[in-house]
């Protein structure tokens, strides 16, 4: 499907913009020779700093607000920077993975508006109760089907992992399903549009690895990749007019599958002694602290 593997020179002819869009890809009155079509995958994640819990310590997902996933912001920033440099368009793709969908879809829309305000041109979102709660297998299938339906992307960029479930699978799964090269954990990336190549530095545990791949390709970025911009009020207002289109799984001809069961999700409570050492002098405080550490058996023998 789509034009994967096709020559980048086909660019622009197969791209079907969704309705009228503002702005122009022209820079200095001249169309850039090799504008980029970029898709950025954005998740509306449960906000780890705003967790609501029930009486049993279980995370109340319905009551916990959604926010744009931290590293997906870096993905949006990377995509917008590439657009600014090379020309082209950025499309955001997202799927709602937390319910109840009637309430959460509004929060997802807020997340999408944020990406649009940062410079994304249009958004496509998947809302279907079969995706809730999210599992990477089905989410990746749905996102892949949508990317293929839209077609024509040179680059698909996402964050290294979402801030709620931290699975880090979507980029790899989408790349594998589409048969595209995948560059994970990029801390910097650049495009050589003429050669149709993306080059990135992968940030691994023990090493930095510079790699290149032919476009189209999928890239996941780390938090080190850039500093996401903060949109201005004007950009936020203009984002309200950018097009957002919604799809169900049946629109994408994706069948639901049996998903793993999220049996429970509870806050980790670590019991600490919370002793604040009170003393007249610093010497006494130090002595008391040393005494406690000795009792705990954590001083060298």
């Amino acid at each position: 499907m789509g034009r994967y593997g096709a020559s980048p020179s086909l660019h622009g002819t197969l791209w079907q913009p969704l309705g009228a869009v503002e702005g122009s890809v022209a820079i200095g009155g001249v169309l850039p020779s090799m504008p980029l079509n970029i898709a950025v995958l954005v998740k509306a994640s449960l906000d780890p700093n705003m967790i609501r819990t029930g009486s049993d310590g279980g995370v109340d997902a319905a009551a916990t607000p959604l926010a744009i996933s931290e590293y997906d912001k870096n993905a949006v920033e990377a995509a917008v920077q590439l657009k600014e440099k090379h020309g082209g368009r950025v499309v955001a793709v997202s799927a709602l993975t937390w319910g109840p969908s009637a309430r959460k879809r509004k929060e997802l829309e807020q997340v999408i508006r944020e990406a649009l305000a940062m410079g994304v041109d249009e958004a496509h979102i998947i809302i279907d109760d079969a995706l809730i709660p999210g599992d990477p297998l089905l989410t990746a299938r749905a996102v892949t089907a949508l990317l293929q339906k839209l077609g024509g992307f040179d680059l698909i960029i996402t964050g290294e992992a979402s801030m709620d479930m931290i699975s880090g699978q979507i980029g790899g799964r989408v790349a594998a399903l589409m048969g595209l090269p995948f560059i994970s954990y990029a801390r910097s990336l650049e495009v050589d549009a003429g050669a149709g190549v993306v080059r990135a530095v992968r940030d691994l545990e023990e090493s930095l690895q510079t790699v290149k791949a032919k476009m189209p390709a999928v890239v996941s970025v780390t938090g080190e990749a850039n500093k996401p911009r903060i949109p201005t009020l004007l950009q936020i207002r203009r984002a309200m007019r950018k097009p957002v289109k919604t799809y169900s799984l049946s629109d994408l001809e994706v069948d639901s599958v049996a998903k793993p069961r999220l049996v429970e999700m509870k806050l980790i409570q670590v019991k600490r002694k919370n002793v604040i050492i009170e003393a007249e002098t610093l010497e006494q405080a130090a002595e008391k602290l040393i005494e406690y550490l000795e009792q705990e058996g954590v001083l060298p023998k």
Binding site: L137, Q169, Y185, E206, L208, G223, V275, L282
Partner: protein, 312 residues
């Protein structure tokens, strides 16, 4: 047990086989196969007896794409119930590709893995390490784990049969590779860690933390700003959910406010001490013992008293 359980293990390097063999043994797998890149002697050293066969890829390291491609071949050949990989970046990357191609559920960085009749139950940290999720799925499935967690269960006997395979061509081409700057500290296995944060005003002042760590037989780690914003210490010193997770007997956090991202990476510490001049700093909620004091005044005193105590 649960009838025949066949496990396929993969690694990014032979040293990871130890912990993964430990998990295979703990699960009571009836058959197990392993795929690893590495030199012949290194692989032989880790060819644990729980494996029916170890497939050694004749390469120092592989791209995740190469690893995934080789795994796919072995998956087709052995039809495993469970695929187990290392929860390192290349391991998660390769796993996600295999999981997509074979339509497998995948669980990244499980901290426990149990089999029950026809199914799998895992626990994993979510929400920035602040919550624990329990998930169940049918088999086959894929999990990645930190190999260190199962190293104690690793069988001692080796001698599994080794077959050598050739690496396939890579779609993503490596142009260069350089080891990260590191200072030969191993935060993750240190028994004592002294953490430094923004309370330190100058790089030279970290010498106080170094001295404290030396007295206690520990190492110095840091919160994110010290590493990422100031660049005073190398990245392998970063304690955080995206940096290193520590599990020492004693963690002393000095001039660190206590963000959730930092604290989630320290929660396995046995004893946590906080030294901070702001009595309202969140760190005190996470500490066993807290000293509200200016570190510049308190640390020299603490170091002197410890020297007396330890006779140094």
């Amino acid at each position: 047990m649960y009838g025949v359980v066949r496990v396929l293990v993969y690694t990014a390097g032979p040293a990871q086989l130890r912990g993964l063999a430990g998990l295979v043994a703990a699960l009571g797998a009836s058959e197990a196969f392993a795929l690893t890149p590495g030199r012949e002697d290194e692989v032989a050293q880790h060819a644990y007896g729980v494996f029916n066969r170890v497939y050694r890829v004749d390469a120092e390291r592989l791209t995740p794409g190469q690893l995934a491609e080789l795994l796919e071949g072995l998956y087709a050949e052995h039809q495993p119930d469970l695929v187990v990989g290392p929860a390192v970046k290349d391991g998660v990357d390769a796993g996600s590709r295999l999981a997509a191609r074979q339509s497998l559920p995948m669980f990244t960085e499980a901290v426990s893995v149990e089999l029950f009749d026809g199914g799998l139950r895992v626990r994993r940290q979510v929400l920035g390490g602040r919550a624990m999720a329990v998930l169940e799925s049918g088999l086959p499935a894929l999990v990645t784990v930190k190999p260190q967690l199962w190293e104690e269960k690793a069988p001692s006997e080796t001698g599994a049969e080794i077959s050598t395979v050739k690496p396939p061509a890579a779609l993503v081409e490596e142009e260069s590779w350089e080891p990260k700057k590191r200072e030969a500290v191993d935060l993750e296995s240190a028994e004592v860690v002294v953490g430094v944060g923004r309370g330190f005003r100058r790089k030279e002042d970290l010498a106080m933390a170094e001295e404290l760590a030396r007295l206690l037989g520990g190492v110095v780690g840091a919160s994110r700003p010290i590493v990422a914003d100031y660049g005073w210490l190398s990245e392998d010193r970063w304690i955080g959910i995206s940096g290193k997770k520590i599990r020492p007997k004693l963690y002393i956090a000095i001039g660190i406010s206590g963000t959730p991202q930092h604290m989630a990476a320290t929660m396995d510490s046995k004893v946590i001490v906080a030294i901070n001049k702001d009595k309202n700093a969140p760190i005190f909620q996470y500490a066993d013992y807290g000293v509200v004091a200016d570190l510049y005044k308190f640390l020299p005193v603490l170091i002197e008293k410890l020297k007396e105590k330890l006779g140094k």
